[in-house]
């Protein structure tokens, strides 16, 4: 029952600095970092102390609410630092990598022979569970609940995003193993979406329902696909997982090793030669970007420009991310920027903004907000870039005044902050949409659970 998805509402933000399809090894990195903030809503409890020797796959901390759920070291080495914040909250665990990597042996498994419970406990123990997220709430999946379906988006439509067809090439075996295992964890189907004209390694696999997606961003967002394929109703849970994380799970099943390696794109207009790099989760930002940037007034983003996090050179690569984007900071004034004609920025209006005349032009956007924060005024422009069957402004307002009933009625269970990245981009009032949705989801999680 394959079902193709065609999106009309949306916006492709075309930027300068797309990664060339060449993969290099990233510079060697000595210290890897695991940050609990990457795992939203999890309260971590440390399993180790400073000085502990770890293998790749050994637990670093676990979920206070569910001790089975481990978060593993991506490399083998020694714990050199545990950084804490207010109230001794754990901010980061730093691990000095060994020269020769050793792996915990989780034993080779045949996914077809495993039972659902065995798969679950393997994923929980190896740290791979953290790759599985759930909706509602966009948090790490609750292993006690069975999802009605699992969604994988094999199509990246975000600005400058790493091309999945390229980074997943040759990983068919791993993907198949992971999908075979995951398909036993749901009462429904595993839905995988790929680009309409893509040459995706997913296309020949079993145990999945394949969907072909076309249209502008956010057609590649898993939230859009869920909404079009099988929207979430109250009381239902779906899981989502990124394709590159499927490869890690697949490798765990096939080799018994937790190999946190992935190919990432280094892109953006401030990158001298944008291309792909092979690295490991938790690697330092400096190992990936040092010496590769233009100018020194840049913003380094782990993730894409719409949903990523700001990082400094001292920071580390995000757990779920598949790319680093570097764009110029926009911390300068612009004379009469609010009324002169604009040719070098993207706009969905035509208010003396002329990006609509050049649909294929690639832009060099910076981080300026292009205006100040205001109350919601303009109506109708969010809907143009928001393909979900949800009223975006009404939902945002419900989140702001914290009306749980209304949030539920308007479709809060179906959304994640990333679904509101484009409405945030076009917002004339410069409201922080993703933050509002995240707070709303957290409130619901706390009050309703």
């Amino acid at each position: 029952m394959s079902q193709d998805i065609q999106i009309k509402k949306g916006l492709d933000i075309k930027l300068i600095g797309e990664a060339e399809k060449v993969t290099e090894n990233a510079k060697s990195c000595s210290v890897y970092t695991l940050k609990p903030e990457d795992f939203h809503s999890i309260v971590p409890k440390l399993s180790i102390k400073i000085g502990a020797k770890l293998k790749a796959g050994d637990a670093v901390f676990y979920n206070k609410a569910n001790e089975e759920m481990k978060f593993s070291s991506p490399v083998s080495g020694e714990v050199v630092d545990i950084i804490r914040g207010e109230k001794r909250k754990i901010l980061a665990v730093k691990i000095q990598a060994d020269k020769d990597q050793e792996y915990v042996d989780f034993a080779v498994k045949d996914p077809k022979a495993l039972k659902a419970d065995e798969i679950k406990s393997l994923l929980l123990a190896s740290g791979c569970w953290s790759f599985i997220k759930q909706r509602p709430y966009d948090v790490i999946a609750n292993p006690a609940k069975t999802p009605k379906a699992i969604f994988v988006s094999g199509y990246a439509s975000a600005p400058l995003a790493a091309d999945y067809d390229y980074v997943l090439a040759g990983k068919e075996k791993e993907l198949q193993a992971a999908l075979a295992a995951l398909s036993k964890l749901t009462s429904g189907e595993v839905h995988v979406s790929i680009g309409k004209s893509s040459n995706s390694p997913f296309s020949g696999l079993n145990n999945i329902v394949l969907h072909k997606v076309s249209g502008p961003h956010p057609s590649g967002n898993v939230g859009t696909q869920i909404n079009k394929i099988d929207p979430i109703n109250k009381g239902e849970v779906v899981w989502t997982i990124n394709p590159q994380d499927l490869v890690i799970i697949g490798e765990l099943l096939l080799t018994g090793k937790f190999n946190a390696e992935r190919i990432i794109a280094l892109a953006g207009s401030s990158v001298a030669t944008p291309k792909y790099y092979k690295t490991i989760i938790g690697a330092s930002i400096s190992s990936l970007v040092e010496g590769k940037l233009k100018g020194n007034n840049n913003r380094i983003i782990s993730g894409n420009v719409l949903t990523g996090r700001t990082k400094s050179l001292k920071g580390s690569f995000g757990f779920y991310d598949t790319m680093i984007t570097v764009i110029p900071e926009g911390n300068d004034y612009e004379m009469f920027g609010w009324n002169l004609p604009v040719f070098n920025k993207i706009s969905t209006s035509r208010a003396l903004t002329f990006s609509w005349l050049f649909p294929n032009k690639k832009f060099d956007l910076n981080t300026n907000t292009n205006g100040e924060h205001r109350a919601f005024v303009v109506t109708g422009n969010y809907e143009e870039v928001f393909p979900l069957d949800i009223y975006p402004m009404q939902l945002l307002k419900a989140c702001k005044y914290e009306d749980l009933d209304e949030m539920e009625q308007l479709g809060m269970y179906e959304v994640a902050p990333e679904d509101f990245a484009l409405t945030e981009f076009v917002c004339v009032s410069k409201q922080p949409h993703q933050e509002i949705i995240r707070k709303g989801l957290d409130l619901m999680l706390k009050e309703i659970g």
Partner: protein, 399 residues
């Protein structure tokens, strides 16, 4: 480059000062701020509220300039010394009449805005950009300045600030200002003495015993409401060589402005189109009643009812109201479906009021204010449709 750095330094040094919003209003007028994104999307589209509002002001400028010519033209015509429409005499007379209105509107209105911004410690918001330009265009040219000032204060405070400022108001502030004038000072807002510059003064002189001819200049709606003959051709109505509020007369320029707002995606084409449809439907109904012979020439409604339906689009403030006021995104319906209903009812009710209430021949103001009040209700039912669809989906699943 000194100015940019100097302004930046003033801003940085006075971060905690009470008066900073007043300074920022000027600063951001000159320069878009150096603010960068902190959360969520790292890049943002080019549009901000200032740009959006400026587009509406831009669209109003032709109406304003035309209004200046027309004010002079109507004055000299009524006083028996007609001049060419596009003459310096006409323009200069209108310019000197209208400039004070603009100054009072902006100085008083922005004064109130800045005061509230300072007290409540937020930035000065751009809403009054548009309101301040609308106000001089929707009042009779001879309105005393103190009345305008009082009305502006009332409109901004009661119409907007008490609700929390731009984006929070229920009624269109410009229309609140006009409605205030209309009900507080009706003799200055209707009748045949206010639409021509100088007519009211002349009336006063006559009352004081001067031996002069009275000047009267009735709007077309006023004439129709009293069953008088209309002395203007359809082309006069369309191009706007008629008496009326300063900016409302030229349907032609308003039409161009409407097209500009739709093309720039600033104004809602749904509201404009559905308002016109609503007005046409109501006009056709009235024409039908007349044709069916249900109403006789003796009726006081006869002349307005028998006005050809499409003339309604050209006369009075209908076009201006629909293009510039009904489309105010804050007070209009916010859902696309709601906009159709909202617009249709504005058009429909405008003509209804126009015909049945000769005391208030300008129906569009009241129709928009009424629909402003009902817009949240319309949206509620539209959004409930979405909510019900979601509930139904759940029921199908569980059944």
């Amino acid at each position: 480059m000194g100015l940019k750095e100097n302004l930046h330094n003033i801003k940085e040094k006075n971060k905690d000062k009470k008066w900073l919003p007043a300074f920022s209003a000027l600063h951001t007028f000159l320069y878009t701020p150096n603010e960068t994104t902190h959360s969520g999307s790292h890049v943002r589209a080019a549009d901000d509220l200032k740009r959006t509002m400026t587009m509406v002001v831009l669209a109003l400028i032709p109406c304003l300039i035309f209004g200046m010519f027309n004010t002079g033209f109507q004055h000299f015509k009524a006083f028996g010394t007609p001049v060419e429409f596009l003459s310096m005499d006409a323009f200069w007379f209108g310019f000197l009449k209208i400039l004070p209105l603009i100054i009072v509107s902006y100085v008083v209105g922005l004064g109130v805005e800045v005061l509230f911004a300072v007290i409540k410690n937020h930035e000065v918001e751009e809403g009054y950009f548009v309101t301040g330009m609308l106000v001089p265009l929707i009042v009779p040219v001879d309105i005393p300045l103190w009345m305008l000032a009082v009305a502006v204060i009332f409109g901004v405070v009661i119409g907007k600030e008490v609700f929390g400022g731009t984006g929070m108001n229920i009624l269109n502030p410009a229309l609140v200002i006009r409605a205030f004038l209309f009900f507080a000072y009706p003799t200055w807002m209707s009748g045949d003495k206010v639409w021509v510059g100088g007519a009211a003064e002349r009336a006063q002189e006559i009352a004081d015993g001067a031996n002069l001819d009275a000047i009267s200049g009735e709007t077309i709606l006023g004439s129709l409401a009293q069953g008088k003959e209309v002395l203007y051709s359809v082309s006069d109505m369309f191009f706007g060589y008629i008496p009326g509020s300063v900016g409302e007369t030229s349907t032609f320029l308003i039409l161009l402005a409407g097209i500009f707002l739709v093309v720039t995606k600033i104004g809602s084409w749904r509201i404009m189109l559905s308002s016109i449809i609503g007005a046409i439907v109501m006009g056709l109904i009235f024409n039908g009643v007349v044709n069916a012979g249900w109403i006789t020439e003796g009726s006081k409604f006869y002349s307005l009812m028998s006005t050809e339906f499409w003339h309604h689009l050209l006369i009075g403030g209908f076009a201006f109201g629909v293009v510039f006021m009904a489309t105010d995104p804050v007070t209009a319906s916010q859902t696309n479906k709601g906009k159709w209903i909202y617009g249709f009812l504005i058009g429909f009710i405008s003509i209804l009021i126009r015909v049945f209430n000769p005391a208030y021949p300008e129906g569009v103001m009241l129709a928009i204010l009424l629909m402003n009040v009902f817009a949240p209700t319309i949206d509620h039912y539209v959004v409930q449709g979405n909510v019900k669809r979601r509930l139904k989906r759940l029921k199908v699943k569980t059944a």
